[in-house]
Subunit: 287 residues, 2 copies
């Protein structure tokens, strides 16, 4: 089921520009309802929430935003979650900062704030996450492991994320940190998940409606292992899998695809190779 | 047309072990006819041929080889090419060292030595190349350009190689030097060529017969752009292309595939996704 009209996810690969062009943040503000819209910045992924808030306070103020507030979460059990959820309920946009996605999940999972975020997306808000905040948007997220030059069985472990989108695993700082092998390790063991690698200062916008768009400075790399043949079940842990027929899509900034061509012709109808991915990114799913 | 029985190409990704296990060099010696077989080491790619020869002289001696000689080529016009060609004509194996593939081509192209190498492959010798020597084996080779985090139009230029195999562009030190984006740049503009990325201390063996095998420490990455949709024709030079449906195969060491399963069952019949690649790697072609 496609999300309610208006709701969208803005999945940012980290290091989005906060000083100059601010393409990504500017778009977030627009998607959230414009300069006067209520914006909440969730700093829970970071161990330095005040520092993070100072950066975004300044960046959004420079873009003309007038109603931006931080939401600092110290961890489960902290008082005031219900009040914080209220801030989310009235927000046009919520921005999840970088840091550590496991920390973010420890703070949010099962709280009224998490429920409020899901409700916000359903009623049409823009939910954005950068770096760790981006990874945490999916139902499953990278939670541990090691980096290698080659995909390896068992190199990465996944954990439950916030679940705004299912069927994908998101990685960030993608080209800059040479993370293709790591993302290949993910799909080697999880071939029914797309691997989505997002470069720095780059975002994948999913929605409103069945539309995806890439914005910012870099590209989004999509790994599709659905047709893959592999021997991953037969090999020992830490061995290199044989992977045949992994499909790779590289979408540079300004790529836009929809399931149907838009009436003004500005958005292309997606080719067959991307249609299922668009549905996945713009459909509510728990898995 | 498949090459004559016995002839094979050993395409090595550079830094093959010359001290310890020597899997790759050992296999080269075996494919060349064993310890007593006449072996020629062509050092022309290097600006330090004596140093290169000293390394391989020692490595092959340690493997028991008894008839290994260097072939130093100073450049076109040098006397003695015909005599050098004679050495190739009697060789069971020829090893092209690393260095600079453009230098190698300047020394070999159009000489009797080049013709002798082709004749040697046809009559059943093993032609091996490592690093620059590997790139030069194909009809088209990387000849210039720059490395970027992202595939870019015009990032790389190709030049004519030795042409033992067509329809592929070979890159080496592949995982170690993060060269995927570079190889994607190649297939973005040359979608009818496979991109073949070979890790260090790793080799792709093509032949004898319609069989491929990966040996050594790493993997071989194959990029297949034949089904790719791209906008590369529409974008300006140095811009990032949109690439959809690039097919990637990752073959770790000990992967072996043939067009038909071997009688002893030790070599698997290749899945559909690899069959055309196997034909390409084991068929004579000028393009």
């Amino acid at each position: 089921m496609t999300r309610a009209a208006g709701g969208c996810l803005l999945v940012i690969g980290g290091h989005e520009d906060r000083e100059h062009g601010k393409d990504v943040l500017d778009r977030f503000l627009e998607l959230s309802g414009g300069a006067g819209a209520p914006i909440v910045v969730v700093t829970a992924a970071s161990t330095a929430p005040d520092k993070v808030w100072a950066i975004y306070k300044r960046a959004f103020a420079a873009l003309g935003a007038t109603d931006v507030r931080p939401l600092h979460l110290g961890g489960p059990g902290e008082a005031g979650y219900a009040a914080m959820a209220q801030a989310i309920h009235r927000a046009g946009g919520v921005f999840l900062s970088g840091g550590d996605q496991k920390r973010l999940l420890r703070c949010l999972a099962g709280t009224p704030v998490e429920a409020a975020l899901h409700a916000a997306l359903e009623r049409g808000a823009c939910i954005a996450g950068t770096s760790a905040g981006a990874s945490a948007l999916a139902a499953r997220m990278l939670a541990g492991g090691y980096t290698s030059l080659q995909p390896l069985k068992g190199a990465v472990t996944l954990a439950a994320g916030l679940g705004f989108v299912g069927g994908v695993v998101i990685d960030q700082h993608f080209a800059q940190r040479h993370r293709l092998a790591r993302l290949m390790s993910v799909i080697a063991e999880h071939p029914h998940c797309y691997g989505v690698g997002i470069d720095e200062d780059t975002a994948l916008l999913a929605g409103p409606g069945p539309v995806i768009e890439v914005l910012g400075a870099g590209s989004v790399t999509i790994l599709d292992g659905r047709a893959m043949e592999s021997n991953v079940e037969e090999i020992r842990r830490h061995a290199r899998p044989r992977l045949l027929d992994v499909r790779v899509h590289l979408l540079p900034s300004r790529s836009r695809f929809a399931l149907e061509e838009s009436a003004d012709g500005k958005i292309q109808a997606a080719p067959e190779s991307l249609r299922h991915f668009i549905q996945t990114m713009t459909t509510k799913s728990e898995t």
